[in-house]
Symmetry: C2
Subunit: 348 residues, 2 copies
């Protein structure tokens, strides 16, 4: 693990000192100290430079100095506009609830800040850590080549990625095994006789979205069935449009897997208007469960949504990391498919 | 306004000094200073006591002292479990987006912390202010006799309530004029010939929920129609159950107004199962709009959801307050009812 866990492998003998930071910044040790403690008498420009250089050097106050400080007793998370927080807010809030529950059991607060994009989030993470405002930081909705992961790795910031270890690139990680779950959905649908299965998924650069779609496709192909993938944005309108496209195609699908509950319930309405009777003319599966799925007619076959469990596992991972555990890579299982009224055998 | 704006009416001549706080706490001025600046050398118990007494006295560092401090450049909001943030997360995220946009235009960050209940939020607000961690605080989902409002009032903390001035009790406030909008819905439905209108609303102690339901009832009664109010929790299951109850009653309703989009779309399914054809056998109106309302068959008649505008207006109110404006009480209009396919004349 040493190569992929940069935040833990810094050799004590090479540990940078406050003098190294002062020398690199071209200022006195007192100025570094003032800047790091946010005290007046240092210009904003100097302060920013010192904080940046301290972070680039991976410098932290030594244990003795740190023991004089109160721990922040808090974990930080930047909420990026357009991420799950805004596109699938119900799931995101369930995740937050799980994180909060477990952190609160140890007296740690969860603090969120809304930002516009991933680059800004990466910058904010560096500043937060420079100011020692949090004990650890969290990343959710990890993207391909995510700048937040890069910032946390390079500045050796204690942090945990809610996402696949492949995307966490050495940072601690906790994820839901959606690849395994989507693979099971593929085998289930193929086992029911479906030979052409639509997959409505997105956004295109969301790491987990890519992984689960690949797993579903692989499982279908292994059973001799085909996946027709439509990658959309996160809106219900796009999901509805993708559904129609899959159904009116010259070679239409007999089943569709949707990432989200709302896309799936909207699809029931699209099918009704196209005179396709679910489940006899079309099977529908949702990747997340909700009251909308349970109350729809017919009720929607879904994967369970272990988001609260994911939140608790992520928080537990953070706590264990703060207790000194290394190389954390944990997996939350999805559990068996909840088969309801939108799936039926095909072509028998 | 002076009587209802406690945070602004503190007479400069009576302004408490650091000596008053030290005397009341029974400690030296240096200890007060150390405690307020979070410096070591003061026990946690003493620090808590000093901060509490400083707040009870409404003490703040004077302008000269403050100018030495960096402004926090941030606004704080405690997210209470069970509030809109968790029950209607989509609307809440749109609100946050609006707030963030406007605050960011002045370089202020929006910082959230998840807490379990309103009492904890009130306590957190006091601590945040004692530590001067924010320039101002926000309250959303204001309740009847809300402990957060009481804490902010009594400690004279710069703050703004997203809610009705009657619930803000002298604090700055920005709210959506839902009373006026619900009154219009009542007149619209009565004008379409409905004489018995169901209202599915909740939770029971949410200030705005009480106000808008009263306005709808008053408008219906003025037109000679009756309101049958079912107060539920926030879940879709409860909304579905309330819908069925209203439809199978010996004296059933011919129209139902729902607070939320998801309750309304779920009601379409409940009506379908009871063989009531919407809109001919039942009219449905939702208090908030969404893709689910637009994509449903028939599409749902709704009030527009000016939550992003509300967020921007709330943030602008905060900025104006920080610029020194007093007695802020602003109203965001809902706009005209969006009439779609779920409403039709009755009994003609």
């Amino acid at each position: 693990m040493s190569e992929t866990s940069p935040e833990f492998t810094h050799s004590p003998s090479k540990r940078p000192t406050i003098s190294d930071v002062a020398r690199a910044a071209g200022v006195s040790i007192a100025v570094v100290s003032y800047a790091l403690n946010g005290r007046p008498g240092v210009s904003a420009a100097t302060r920013d430079r010192v904080l940046r250089i301290a972070d680039e050097h991976g410098w932290r106050p030594n244990a003795a100095a740190r023991s004089l400080r109160t721990s922040a007793q808090a974990v930080g998370l930047a909420l990026v506009r357009g991420d799950t927080a805004t596109t699938h807010p119900a799931a995101f809030m369930a995740l937050l609830g799980g994180i909060q529950d477990r952190l609160a059991s140890r007296g740690l607060a969860l603090v969120l800040q809304a930002v516009d994009d991933h680059e800004t989030a990466a910058h904010l993470y560096r500043s937060w850590w420079a100011e020692r405002r949090f004990d650890a930081l969290l990343v959710t909705d990890v993207r391909v080549n995510d700048p937040r992961v890069e910032a946390l790795r390079s500045a050796r910031i204690p942090s945990l990625v809610v996402g696949h270890p492949g995307a966490a690139r050495g940072l601690a990680s906790v994820h839901v095994d959606e690849e395994e779950a989507y693979g099971r959905v593929g085998r289930f649908l193929a086992g029911q006789g479906h030979r052409r299965v639509g997959v409505v998924t997105g956004p295109a650069d969301l790491d987990m979205s890519i992984r689960r779609t690949a797993a579903l496709r692989a499982a279908l192909e292994q059973e001799g069935a085909a996946a027709v993938v439509v990658t959309t944005g996160a809106s219900q309108e796009e999901g509805a449009s993708a559904t129609r496209q899959l159904l009116v195609d010259a070679d239409p699908v007999s089943a569709i897997m949707f990432d989200t509950d709302l896309s799936a319930t909207t699809a029931l309405d699209v099918a009704r208007r196209l005179r396709r009777e679910v489940p006899w003319d079309l099977s529908v599966v949702a990747g997340t469960d909700s009251a909308s799925c349970r109350l729809a007619t017919p009720s929607v076959t879904t994967l369970p949504s272990p988001v609260a469990e994911l939140g608790e596992a992520a928080a537990q991972g953070l706590l264990d990391m703060l207790d000194g555990e290394r190389g954390i890579e944990r997996v939350v299982s999805v559990g068996p498919l909840t088969v309801r009224g939108t799936t039926a055998p095909w072509g028998r």
